[in-house]
């Protein structure tokens, strides 16, 4: 017992001196110590997709700050208690800037932000805000509207399809805008949606794409799928396809319609700047074409020239704010009024959208 006590006291003493030592050196080195930035992702970084786009968004930050930042990317982290522990661990290791790359990390990441005000957290697709905790999302709908126009111009059957991850507002709006864009060219167009309830499931996505093609859909929208399987299946079937986040043209050299690409670097860079200057303020961040975060790239040359001209006109209008895809009158899928004539949905209304527009044939999972 005595021995035990002495040992414990000794350990405590050691810990205390160790702590004092670390604290002292930390204070002294604070200016030189690099800022630890950790990106946590639910799927592999891979060559394409969501995780890839987020990781790529950190490259300009690295380039700008050099050895003043240290970036760690943790991929394949399943949402749940393990993710909480891993995020805690990386913050305990001294990384003060955390990018939680999936909605499911919300509770754990928010707890970290609340416990330690010196940590800045950026959280993908969430809705909670704290002084040092910003949820962020992309206005994919601005790009999918434009691709909807291209899709309707190319479609022979008048049926479009979408393989979609989760029926959350972010992805509901991207399907809705896709449908509205298509209707702007062909008012009778119909969109079928398959919700696969996964961000990353190559087999399921491919199956869903094939099912849509079998139902005569001849343009497919791979909505927030992190694998190129939908795109590859469409190339094989000779059907146009497009996706979000990063270009997958190499998987479908002929039938790739385009990509609603996201470039997170302006947002990441600005957030890191603010963190280092001590001016970071948590806010719900919803970024689009005007912020240079969303941009449609790799347009397919098959798109008719007159459609392309219209698309480019609208793109400019979206960028300067004079056009929004969600301007009424818009009817809901059940026939009731979604947006009154002349009215435009606000950002707050868009991030809470839980209904499909008329023309989306598949019901929303309830």
């Amino acid at each position: 017992m005595m021995n035990h006590l002495t040992r414990r006291t000794l350990m405590k003493g050691l810990a205390a001196t160790g702590l004092a030592g670390t604290l002292g050196s930390r204070l002294a080195l604070a200016a030189d110590e690099p800022l630890g930035i950790t990106l946590v992702l639910p799927s592999p970084v891979g060559d394409v997709g969501w995780g890839h786009a987020l990781a790529a968004g950190l490259e300009p930050v690295k380039a700008a700050y050099g050895d003043k930042v240290k970036v760690t990317v943790l991929e394949n982290i399943q949402e749940g208690p393990d993710a909480d522990r891993i995020m805690n661990k990386t913050v305990a290791d001294g990384n003060k800037f955390l990018i939680a790359g999936s909605f499911g990390y919300q509770n754990g990441a928010l707890q970290i932000a609340r416990r330690d005000p010196s940590v800045t957290v950026l959280h993908a697709s969430g809705f909670q805000v704290a002084p040092n905790f910003s949820p962020f999302a992309a206005k994919y709908f601005q790009g999918t509207y434009l691709l909807g126009m291209a899709a309707a111009a190319l479609s022979k059957t008048g049926k479009l399809g979408s393989v979609s991850a989760f029926a959350i507002p972010e992805l509901i709006t991207s399907v809705n805008a896709f449908t509205l864009g298509a209707q702007a060219v062909n008012p009778d167009i119909e969109v079928s949606v398959v919700w696969v309830n996964s961000w990353f499931d190559p087999a399921k996505e491919q199956e869903a794409a094939k099912a849509l093609i079998a139902q005569k859909c001849d343009v497919i929208f791979s909505n927030a799928q992190d694998t190129p399987s939908v795109i590859a299946a469409c190339e094989e079937a000779g059907v146009y396809a497009f996706n979000l986040n990063s270009s997958m043209k190499k998987y479908a050299p002929k039938t790739y319609l385009g990509c609603v690409a996201t470039d997170w670097s302006p947002f990441f860079k600005a957030s890191v700047d603010a963190h280092l200057a001590g001016t970071f303020k948590g806010a719900n961040t919803f970024l689009g074409v005007a912020d240079k975060v969303v941009e449609v790239v790799d347009w397919n040359p098959d798109i008719p020239a007159d459609t392309m001209t219209k698309i480019k006109e609208l793109e400019a209008k979206i960028a300067d704010g004079s056009f929004s895809p969600f301007t009424g009158p818009i009817a809901k899928a059940d026939g009731s009024e979604g947006v009154a004539g002349g009215a435009t949905l606000t950002d707050a209304e868009i991030v809470a959208m839980d209904w499909h527009v008329k023309g989306v044939a598949s019901p929303l999972p309830k």
């Binding site: 950790t38 760690t72 943790l74 991929e75 394949n76 982290i77 399943q78 949402e79 749940g80 208690p81 393990d82 909480d84 522990r85 891993i86 661990k89 990386t90 305990a92 290791d93 909605f103 499911g104 509770n107 809705f127 989760f166 029926a167 959350i168 507002p169 509901i172 309830n197 809470a352 839980d354 999972p365 309830k366």
Partner: protein, 366 residues
Amino acid sequence: MTAPTTAFLPTLVRRERASLLAALIAPPVALAVATALNLALYVLMGRDPVAVVHAMLLEPFLSWASFSEVLLKAGPLLLIAQGLAIGFRAKVFNIGAEGQFILGAIFASSIPVWFPQATGQWIWPLMLLLGAIGGALWASITAFWRVRLNASEILVSLMLSLVATQLLNYLLLGPWKDPAGFNFPQSVMFQYDAMVPMLFAGTRVNVSLILTIVLSLAAWVFMQKSFTGYKLQVGGLAPRAAGYAGFSEGRAIWLSLLIGGFAAGLAGAAEVAGPLGQLQRSISTGYGYAAIIVAYLGGLHPLGIIASAMVMAVLYIGGDNAMVSANLPIAAVRVFQGSLLLAYLVAVAFVRYRLEWPRAAHRSPS
């Protein structure tokens, strides 16, 4: 005697008697061999083996916060493995603990999902009880078909795990979805009284750990001291002898599966009412399968399993650490687990068998 093609290969010969010492050192030897092989792999991958060993095998013990996470992780592994081991000794191979774990989580969650406003200290104990019942009910399906139709319990229980996952998906995408959760597949956050009380302040270790240890001791008493436990073991070792002695095989199957399901269900309940606080799709990171490794690594002995559950938990936590601080991919941890089981199976084979080289065979008269 030996065929010419295999003349240069040694053959396995059963030992006259397996020594207790060999049986006892087999697990540590397996652990050492697996560690050495995996370290070699990390070196080949270009990682610093010292950093990996430090993060993986030392860091879990270096701070109370880390060690408490080991205890948290060991809880469900220990509980499930104890239940499974009883069945394995009776040669009833319940491979579906994962499904029973999920059903336990679902049953336990029914209270906070249906009565989110309920308060009182009766809630969490009732949830644990319901979870255990849920797991046992799920296992009883397997027991029924095994006894009735002699259907392989390995296949039935394994397939039922996939069904359990789908049931969980259905509930989370449908009736049990959090109405304020923006369509994400997860339940409401549980109320305070639906959470198992904490055992150590500042950690995530809760009272269910005590329950787990008590049940481990109960498992020891049951298997080593009780007549029912004896009957089960005889049924496993010598089914015919058990039959002649009048020990019912059907009863052994029912008992084995119910105990396994009860323990796994309890573990599932403790997980949702513990670190998760919510029913979500990623409630299990494969505890049900990892527990099979734990059970065998512990020699199917209740006390051995306590040790092997700790080893496995250290590997999990250490693996996460190594990922965060030594840049090791998460797949490396799974490779470690798999190679550990493989090394153990080989080691156990050598406890029971010895190698006989062809030269010795030539010398023997033929």
